[in-house]
């Protein structure tokens, strides 16, 4: 009898996989009932038992699905950007992003509509955070892992730290110096992010060496700024520098404006003369904008050296070399304010030539919209609408690669350095001769010292 009792109790005391026995559980349940002094303990028994059980049962993973996953961080970031609605100073040049996008939609090359509104909010956040004077959506560069959203802008007041950066880079005298902030390829600054709502990251300034190197490579973007660019010839910098170089090349090759809207400032003494809005200008009709000759380049050509202007004159030491280079550079024409029909075709052929640009119009009558599409940089597009007022904008959405019209040929590897010629053997100087020279030098020094002492004494 007693042994049966012991056996039964032992059975109750046997712990299960979670380390709890039925005996313990029942004790805890009874304890809870007594402590809580519940009136309807019998009716509540199952709930109380369940509540006790949940305290010591480790739930299995597959039962956890009822717990909702947190909202994706990307969505939360987007919502927060849309919520922010910062107040912008009136003097900021802020484009009507959704409206411009609706014009680009007409050409079938635009952002999704909801993205345009999100972009406007993200740009407003950038302007407010950095204190920008002007801002524009440059475009989107598609990467293998992520895409870059790129915004162009200029500070209302230049931050101080940024100038140091330029100075340090320019200190390397061997490199072609960068163009200063607010001029040439560094006229604007650029901020990028992979997903709207993320923090904007500023790109480094455009470096002439990077622009020159970018011309001779063809490499897809990954979407990660720190990715090293493994190419031949070596590229000076990471993907951030490569992206900045391509942005500069795209801007200077493909940013176009309606012809006549801007003209050179004749009174200016700067060289090249800056361009300003033409004072009295009559907007063309939409059908007139459907001609290549109606569009003009808005930014200077980037020279072979990787700048829009000649580098400042080199030091006197290599004055001769500088002179020669200068003569060569003289021949480089600037396409600023030239119309697009002057751009060389990217492929010449009798029956199927490929011009650098194509133009088309969409819509009807006076409210038609004209588009200029670059063939050299597929994905670069500009629109111009003339009614009720003149509007034009440029955008780039593409892979960030140039269409040269040729199969890519990598630069050949440099020749492998050969073994240098053997250096001829020289005869050892005999010790006596060496000593003789040393003795002579020493005597000369002693004589000079003696003379100096005498002179001091006098």
């Amino acid at each position: 009898m007693e042994s049966a009792l012991v056996a039964a109790k032992a059975k109750l005391l046997k712990a299960d996989s979670s380390g709890v026995s039925l005996h313990d559980h029942l004790s805890s349940v009874l304890d809870k009932i007594i402590v809580e002094d519940s009136d309807n303990a019998l009716a509540m028994f199952e709930q109380i038992s369940l509540a006790v059980k949940q305290q010591h049962v480790v739930p299995r993973k597959e039962y956890l699905q009822a717990v909702p996953e947190p909202a994706p961080a990307a969505l939360v970031a987007k919502r927060d950007v849309l919520r922010a609605k910062p107040e912008l100073p009136e003097e900021v040049e802020f484009p009507n992003v959704p409206e411009e996008n609706s014009f680009f939609e007409g050409a079938g090359h635009a952002l999704l509509r909801d993205e345009a509104f999100l972009l406007r909010a993200a740009m407003a956040k950038l302007v407010a955070a950095k204190g920008l004077r002007t801002v524009r959506f440059f475009g989107k560069v598609l990467g293998t892992e992520a895409d870059y959203w790129i915004v162009e802008g200029a500070y209302a007041e230049e931050p101080e730290a940024a100038e140091d950066e330029g100075g340090a880079a320019a200190a390397d005298a061997k490199l072609v110096p960068l163009e200063g902030n607010g001029t040439g390829t560094n006229k604007f600054r650029y901020w990028v992010c992979n997903e709207l709502g993320e923090e904007w990251v500023e790109l480094p300034p455009a470096k002439p060496a990077a622009i020159v190197a970018a011309r001779s490579i063809k490499k897809h973007f990954t979407g990660r700024l720190s990715t090293p660019i493994v190419v031949h010839p070596p590229f000076p910098g990471s993907e951030a520098d490569y992206l900045r170089a391509q942005v500069a090349r795209i801007l200077h090759s493909t940013y176009v404006a309606p012809g006549g809207m801007f003209s050179f400032e004749e009174d200016s003494e700067d060289e090249p003369k800056p361009i300003v809005p033409t004072e009295e200008w009559e907007a063309p009709l939409p059908e007139e904008m459907g001609e290549l000759s109606a569009w003009v380049h808005h930014y200077s050509t980037i020279r072979k050296v990787g700048r829009t202007t000649k580098p400042p004159k080199a030091e006197e030491e290599d004055g001769e070399e500088g002179g020669e280079e200068e003569e060569e550079e003289e021949e480089e024409a600037d396409h600023l304010l030239n119309d697009l029909s002057a751009d060389p075709p990217i492929f010449e052929s009798d029956d199927t030539p490929v011009p650098a640009w194509s133009v088309r119009t969409a819509g009807h009558g006076a409210y038609a919209v004209a588009y200029a599409l670059s063939t050299a940089w597929p994905g670069a597009i500009a629109f111009c609408s003339t009614k009720p007022s003149v509007k034009f904008a440029n955008v780039y959405i593409g892979y960030g690669l140039e269409n040269t019209g040729k199969t890519f040929t990598p630069k050949p590897m440099p020749e492998i350095a050969r073994e240098p010629d053997d250096v001829g053997e020289e005869e050892d100087t005999p010790l006596d001769a060496e000593n003789a020279v040393l003795k002579e030098l020493e005597e000369k020094r002693m004589v000079e010292e003696a003379e100096a002492e005498e002179a001091d004494a006098e």
Partner: protein
């Protein structure tokens, strides 16, 4: 892609590629086309970019995209569809001789002149003119669409299976969609000819997940402008192509 999943396709592509005007036209013209030809389904295929105009392409199927008898259509406005030519292998070979860089003009009647291949053992014709073959651009476009569709168009593995009775590929009614993890693996995707997507040039086809859209996206670098997508956990998937129709022959240099 089905036109109703256009926003997903545009997200996968990275931008919106159909103008609202064309999209609105396709919304009404594709169902009409489907009835006229008795297709079970119409898909928007994408766009071949031309200099003066683009070719909007659609494809109609009796059962599924995998069938050999599907028909392609083209237009430039989303409404005035014309069936694409069905080029034979000789024409396709001749089309391949048109220089890659020669962009489509956008004029379907534009004529390319290429020299014909003379089969081995045959005397070349005396008259040189007989050697020249004239190809209109609509035929060239048809060749490009067929080539791209065969080379890269893909669907999730399991979404299309062979019907036991008919012996033709049909949408698999038991297919429940890919999980997020599976959708990111190339092994879960197959080309329309049944080849696995893993056989693409390594690194040229990348899958990524876009959390903001709950979408898995695949883009090809061999055929820039090709994008496939699926919504993990659902039957929604599709693909689209928007580009100049050219293969990136420099891809080996371009891979990061």
């Amino acid at each position: 892609m089905e036109l109703s999943t256009y926003d997903l396709a545009a997200t996968a592509m990275g931008y919106s590629f159909l103008s609202p005007e064309v999209f609105a036209a396709m919304k009404v013209s594709l169902p009409v086309l489907q009835k006229e030809y008795g297709f079970s389904k119409m898909y928007a295929w994408g766009k071949l970019k031309g200099m003066s105009a683009d070719y909007i392409i659609a494809v109609g199927v009796s059962h599924s995209l995998k069938e050999a008898t599907k028909k392609y259509f083209y237009c430039s406005d989303g409404a005035s569809w014309a069936q694409m030519a069905e080029p034979d292998s000789e024409t396709a070979a001749a089309c391949a001789k048109i220089p890659q860089v020669a962009a489509l003009t956008g004029d379907a009647q534009f004529v390319y002149t290429v020299s014909k291949m003379v089969p081995e053992g045959e005397e070349p014709p005396e008259n040189e003119e007989d050697l020249l073959l004239k190809i209109t651009e609509d035929v060239r476009a048809a060749c490009l669409v067929k080539e791209i569709d065969a080379a890269i168009a893909m669907v999730p593995v399991g979404s299309i299976s062979t019907d036991a009775k008919l012996g033709v590929p049909v949408p698999d009614s038991t297919f429940a969609g890919l999980s997020k993890e599976a959708s990111l693996s190339l092994a879960s995707w197959e080309l329309l000819n049944g080849m696995s997507a893993t056989q693409q040039l390594a690194g040229s086809l990348k899958a990524k997940y876009v959390p903001a859209a709950s979408l898995t996206v695949l883009r090809s670098l061999v055929w820039p402008g090709f994008a496939a997508f699926c919504v993990p956990g659902s039957r929604v998937s599709g693909y689209a192509y928007v580009g100049d129709g050219m293969q990136n022959s420099d891809v080996a240099f371009c891979l990061p």
